[in-house]
Point group: C2
Chain length 378, copies 2
């Protein structure tokens, strides 16, 4: 089941007319429907001043040609009503705007075999472009663990953490999704041509902006909401205090998605933004792919076993048995009487405790009294 082609044409036109995440345009679509709004503009009416803004673009728009050209570039335009439409994006409709951006996208331009409706089990991993090798390595590891568990890894194809996350998924031969701020046909940053080619062949390259669009600054703010909304949870691996990754994180929080942060050395500026958010209670601290899966996994499926240190035979002793053990000397031997005094416990109890400790191999009794065994020092 797909949306009617007339709806796709209208939305392709609106996608070209407006900016990604333009609140006014998207709420007018809610009000009049895509066809209704487009009709208003073609009739040269100016709802809320929209025509004034888009008049220059309207003269040039040609949605049929737009979709043909996109198809030639290997792109499809997925819209609400399509079987492929990822229903979780609907959460954006009720969500407060951020930097004047918000709303459910008109549609998404997609290149690649992965179908967007299959992103219900997905994880966004984002972070600083100025990542450290520590951050790269942790991001790659978390992505690999999530990919192995069947999660699709979503990120923004930027240098730094984004690339490390995509590569972590690719290392497991798992599909990954790059959501771009420019058109999905463009390569940005240009150094990532082969990465984006690979993602387009195995996963999906996605954009709310139509083909050909340049990566303008404000388009990143709109793009970040799409990353956060597509994914079940967002992990921020490294982010300085003004990092764009915190904008994605903010969206994940607004959308009630799981929001997680990986700590790092407090001496690293690349972790300062993450630390601040954890400190404020906005993000949950995670240290590994296992921690992340516990947060985003189906309930109970990925419960992390609390890390436990080495367990020794001492661990099963009662406090009073421990008290007796503490009172037994290392090299010289001591009498039960002396041990009782040092331990601050009665003779009878000390005797029975020593018997138990001897069974455990922790003390060694003899004619001259008791002493610790080598095991007790271990």
């Amino acid at each position: 089941m797909n949306a009617p082609e007339s709806e796709r044409l209208t939305r392709a036109a609106l996608s070209r007319l407006g900016e990604p995440g333009d609140l006014r345009l998207l709420s007018l679509v809610d009000e009049f429907g895509a066809a209704g709004l487009y009709q208003l503009l073609v009739e040269e009416r100016d709802p809320e001043g929209l025509l004034t803004d888009v008049a220059a673009r309207l003269a040039a728009v040609n949605p049929t040609r737009e979709l043909d050209q996109a198809a030639r570039l290997g792109l499809r335009f997925v819209i609400p009503g399509d079987a492929e439409w990822p229903s979780q994006l609907g959460d954006l409709a009720g969500c407060a705007p951020l930097h004047e951006r918000g709303g459910t996208p008109i549609g998404l331009w997609v290149k690649g075999p992965l179908r967007l409706c299959d992103l219900d089990r997905s994880l966004a991993i984002v972070g600083s472009r100025a990542a450290t090798s520590y951050g790269d390595s942790v991001a790659g590891e978390i992505a690999a663990v999530a990919a192995l568990a069947g999660f699709s890894v979503i990120s923004g194809a930027a240098v730094g953490i984004d690339v490390a996350a995509h590569r972590g998924a690719i290392s497991m031969d798992a599909p990954t999704v790059a959501v771009l701020a420019c058109g999905a046909d463009r390569v940005y940053p240009s150094a990532h041509r082969s990465l984006l080619d690979h993602i387009a062949q195995t996963g999906a390259v996605v954009s709310e902006a139509p083909p050909g669009c340049a990566p303008h600054r404000i388009r990143f703010l709109a793009r970040n909401r799409v990353i956060a909304a597509l994914a079940r949870g967002t992990v921020v691996v490294e982010a300085a205090t003004r990092s764009g990754a915190l904008n994605t994180a903010n969206w994940a929080g607004r959308l009630n998605r799981q929001l997680m942060g990986v700590p790092g050395p407090v001496t690293s500026v690349s972790s300062a933004g993450v630390h601040e958010q954890i400190r404020l209670g906005a993000m949950t601290l995670v240290t590994s792919g296992a921690d992340v899966l516990e947060m985003v996994g189906e309930s109970g499926q990925h419960l992390v076993e609390a890390p436990r240190g080495h367990t020794t035979s001492r661990d099963s002793l009662t406090t009073r048995q421990q008290q007796v053990l503490d009172a037994v000397p290392v090299s010289s031997r001591a009498t039960v009487d002396s041990i009782a005094r040092v331990a601050g416990l009665g003779m009878l109890e000390v005797r029975s405790s020593l018997a138990r400790l001897e069974v455990d191999g922790l003390v060694d009794g003899g004619q001259a009294g008791w002493r610790l065994t080598a095991l007790a020092h271990a």
Copy 2:
């Protein structure tokens, strides 16, 4: 004002009879008073089996000699009712036990000029004995900042984080407090003789255990509650998942003290225990002395300024002005008409935005059109 000497003698005797933090003994003191309980024992009555346990010690106890010997070692025995008694220890009375240890100490053996009643502004800094140089450096830095702000730094004089914390305070010529698990006259670990000498001359070396006592394992568990109870807050800098520092942290939490943890690389086992506690919401993440002071400082005195990145002239632009700026080319010049189309905004607005951007020095207008200035790339 001090407690009567008879009370001090009785408590000195009980201090020698029982183990630090022995719940039964301390609750019997609550029930009968120190003198009443001591009388019961001398009369060979056996309340709750206490006499059975302490009989061997009771035969040898001599509180007058005990206090004389302590005085010769430069130690005083501070008890409830003394002007010097730190009243915050009273919080231990209502606190659930941990590993069968708890309760308000019978008294504290103290060496050094710092008076315990002056520890109302104090901070405990604890952590792993197997500290990394990262942990040592962060612990020392937090201690120095806290000391400069007039806080006394309390720790346990162990190798690793404890020593780094004491040294951080000492580096600011500030007094610091070492709470030991052995007698306050003893040196443990032995490598810390000069450190403990220095602390005893400038701050205070404190123990709940009477002089001469060895550092038995279970005494560390009782000692940790004293550290947590004396301090207004506890910072854990590094702790593996079974670190004794987490026992101190647990006490701080039970006592409703501020409990803070410093994160580190997720690849470091020395930070794993701290990360787990932050993740569970038991500890608040702190990254610096300033963060710590905000948590333990008098309300409003040490509010941390949220870390802010560099602010540029771009930051004061509206989204729509930013949209215009994004549409101005870098090298070639563009007409207002072309900029309006690229930006998706009306001509009038683009014209007025360009005027504002020109005033900010971000764009440069001319006969052939508009382009970005060097400042816009900065």
